[in-house]
Amino acid sequence: MHEYSLVAALTRKAEEEARAHHATAVTCLRVSVGALAGVEPELLASAFTLCREGLLAGAALEIRNVAATWACPRCDAAVPVGAILRCAACGLPARLVSGDELLLEQIELEVP
């Protein structure tokens, strides 16, 4: 259960941005979480609800889930999740194209 430590990092970042922009409140945080980021979106959401305070007391957390996608680094052919992660044609280990994101993408602020 590392979601609380992630929420601490997330709220610290949002607070810094809010202060830098002299905001009176943060209304929304938009994050993206990849399927292979090692984060349970539901746990992240509930940890956020429990921990938000101060400028973030009324903030919503919008989580965009990003599916894992793999492809051959040479021919770009897709390698499906659950398959042997190697290009059937080139024999090369597949490369993760998306799915390890753990990003704070956007925040919405209320300014005077």
Partner: protein
């Protein structure tokens, strides 16, 4: 002015941040990595379930890798028993007792560096907290990730915990001496791993019998050789063309 929902509210500002949530940890990890690279220390992040045999692997490593200077940082929720076991086989070890934290992070590792003479080492093993989930999320500044997976955990663990196995540079399949007593096939573990770990690298090993330890040490030495161009590697960098293969 709000332009995200189109309401045009002048008191709402939408800010593009696009930053890794763990950027503070990432920065600390980069700092550790620079330390290790400058000192020529191969930092190994050893992860795995509680009871997978992480400490036993390190004990076996210490017994066989006698020509190298080893050190360790051992993370545990409570007690410093792992650190005591490692010190008993001659590996200077700093214990990190995390309390309730389920993983080590880069700052914890950095703080522990004060308690181990890491600059004088060839290898620094960071034995992470026993857990197949959380440690995979935090970069520590290691050069390589190694996951210990014991045969007794069953062959489907890689499929259930893809995040950790994807990050592994090597998987040690531990407790190999128990193979005759179990309904687990090494080939099935390999198949499961190949579906989550693109560049599959697996060494079956038994700390008790010593099987596989030589192969594990050869892998470590290879990684260390790639990190530090030592005297042997420099001797190979002469530029004249020659037909004979190097030993």
């Amino acid at each position: 002015m709000c332009d995200s929902c189109g309401c045009g509210d002048p008191h709402k500002v939408s800010l593009d941040v696009q930053e890794r949530i763990l950027s503070v940890n990432d920065r600390a990890a980069r700092h550790n990595r620079e330390h290790f690279a400058t000192a020529g220390v191969l930092a190994v992040n050893l992860m795995g379930s509680p009871g997978a045999g992480k400490t036993a692997v390190l004990e076996a490593t210490a017994r066989r890798l006698t020509g190298r200077r080893l050190g360790a940082i051992a993370g545990d929720l409570e007690t410093d028993r792992d650190a005591e076991r490692l010190r008993a086989v001659g590996v200077p070890t700093a214990a990190i007792t995390t309390g309730s934290a389920c993983h080590l992070d880069a700052e914890m590792v950095h703080a522990a560096l004060d308690r181990v003479a890491w600059r004088e080492l060839d290898y620094l093993f960071v034995e992470n907290v026993g857990n197949l989930v959380c440690p995979a999320v935090y970069d520590l500044g290691q050069a390589v990730n190694v996951v210990a997976l014991s045969l007794t955990e069953g062959e489907d663990k890689p499929l259930k915990y893809p995040v950790m196995f994807r990050k592994a540079d090597l998987v040690l399949l531990t407790k190999l001496d128990l193979l005759p007593h179990l309904d687990v096939q090494v080939e099935a573990v390999k198949d499961a791993l190949a579906r989550v770990m693109p560049d599959l690298a697996l060494v079956p090993i038994s700390a008790r019998s010593g099987a596989g330890v030589a192969e594990w040490i050869a892998w470590l030495e290879g990684r260390r050789g790639a990190l530090v161009p030592g005297p042997a590697a420099e001797a190979h960098s002469h530029a004249h063309p020659h037909a004979h293969p190097h030993a």
